[in-house]
Amino acid sequence: MNSNTQNRNFDGPMSCADVRDQLAFLLYGELSFDEEELVETHLDACGECRKTLAAQRRLHEAIDEVGVVASPALLHRCREDFCELLDAQEVSFHTPASVARKEESGWWKRFVDMITGKGAWQVGALKPVGALTLLAIGFFGARFVPEFSGTNDFDLASLASMGPSQIRSISPMGDGRVNIVFNESRPRVVSGTLQDEAVRALLLTAARGSSDPGIRAETVAVLVNGASAVDVREALVFALEHDQNSAVRLRAMEGLKSYADDPAVQGALAQVLLRDENQGLRTQAIDLLTEHRGDELNHQIVGMLQELMAHEGDNYVRERCQRVLRSVNASSEIY
């Protein structure tokens, strides 16, 4: 393969091979006006190259399918970790928070000053009092604070399965021992109704961000009961438009049934109609977009149905679509 093929300057008509080398750039919008003109001219006259372009477009769509969007939960954790990392950098940021922290640590400094006789506490008689206080803290502290040494306090299996990113720092202590700081996550239980703020926030996050389709499906099933609220409806619309699992999308669609007049819901239904790979969902989208509207289907919906007819491969969906178009005396084709 000639790696410079794609960079040739074309003065006259292009050959099929030349055009095919440019198709990816055409789809990415990376051709100059003149180059695009030459490619388009060739495509107008060459059915084979048009087929190749269509195949390449399908390939692009397939590649789009494996694109990922970072979940809000992952982003949240990254942000939290980074804030901790910034704190650990001991930087000289002059924020109100850092000033407050310094003020909070003042009592310790004053205490240390007192027992060491520094600063304003230059009273020699207080030194033995301070020393006795420290001794008492050490004595009683040792009895009340549990000692964590070795791995006896941890479940070895859970430590072994821990990812490297959970370990925050490792510092040798000089006597052969080592201090390891790691993040530990523990399951917590929150119970309540959809009206409870914490429950609602968790459900809205899970609907958009959980990597487990089962959890997303359960979440959406709960959320459909509160679809009258805008934030819940937004989460359902998001699930309908973006969820990769058709069962989750279907549940979201069922929850949005009563809101088919909402523009956001209509937009999501239009996306399903034209792009969803599941014919069951496409069929339901036709129903929801056209139900109870009689002859008053707007031009946009008619246009969408005609567009669907142009590329729909499933006979049942086509038939359903055709029936609706016929009922409003619209053509099945786009002219």
């Binding site: 960079n7 590649i63 789009d64 940021f93 961000g209 399903v272 069951g280």
Partner: protein, 205 residues
């Protein structure tokens, strides 16, 4: 459905002026300004890392390392390029290094590897509805698997250029600038990447 690429959009004049002020404030030691800058770009950086590395753990590490480097080198940022390009340059170089390490170790995660990430485990979950077309769903799952495999076969440079163009929607000119190379070199790289993807996935298209 789903998985549609979120494209990068260039900041307008007003936001550019705001950004300039934020960078100056952060350089002067204002933590709130720095955190605002991080928030402006961290979603894109995380998405880029997720798409390139396909591993939430690795993406988290890239996120931390990228912004730590931004923080440590903020004083040396002289506005020679846009802040976005500078941040992306750091992030893509880190991803590139990670991909190179993987190539040496011959490992490439092509499926989901953690609970808090974003890749859907749909491939491992059967369709739950009777009206889901199993043949179509199987075919679609196969395509996704093949696409991931084909992506993993690209060289780290090809993969980087391809990810930046296809998933991040960056122009070749910006990709060249981000990677410290020319637009032509980026175009050559994209050409090779798309040819390889076509060869690997031709029968599915």
């Amino acid at each position: 459905m789903g998985g549609a690429a979120l494209k990068h959009t260039a900041p307008d004049e007003n936001s550019r002026a705001d950004e300039f002020a934020l960078i100056r404030a952060a350089q002067a030691g204002d933590r709130a300004a720095f955190e605002q800058l991080v928030r402006a770009y961290d979603q894109s950086v995380l998405r880029l890392a997720m798409n390139m590395l396909r591993s939430p753990e690795d993406a988290r590490d890239i996120y931390q390392e990228t912004f730590l480097r931004v923080f440590k080198n903020l004083d040396s940022f002289r506005f020679d390029c846009s802040f976005h390009t500078w941040v992306y340059r750091i992030a893509t170089n880190l991803c590139l290094d990670q991909l190179r390490k993987r190539k040496v170790r011959r490992e490439e995660p092509t499926v989901l590897s953690a609970g808090d990430g974003t890749l859907d485990r749909m491939d491992t979950v059967p369709e739950e509805r009777a009206d889901g077309d199993p043949v179509r769903s199987l075919h679609s799952g196969q395509i996704r698997k093949r696409v991931r495999e084909a992506l993993s076969q690209l060289t780290p440079r090809e993969r980087t250029v391809f990810e930046l163009r296809h998933y991040e929607g960056m122009r070749l000119r910006n990709i060249g600038e981000t990677l410290g190379t020319t637009e032509e070199a980026a175009k050559n790289c994209l050409f090779r990447a798309t040819q390889k993807m076509r060869q690997a996935l031709g029968e599915f298209a």
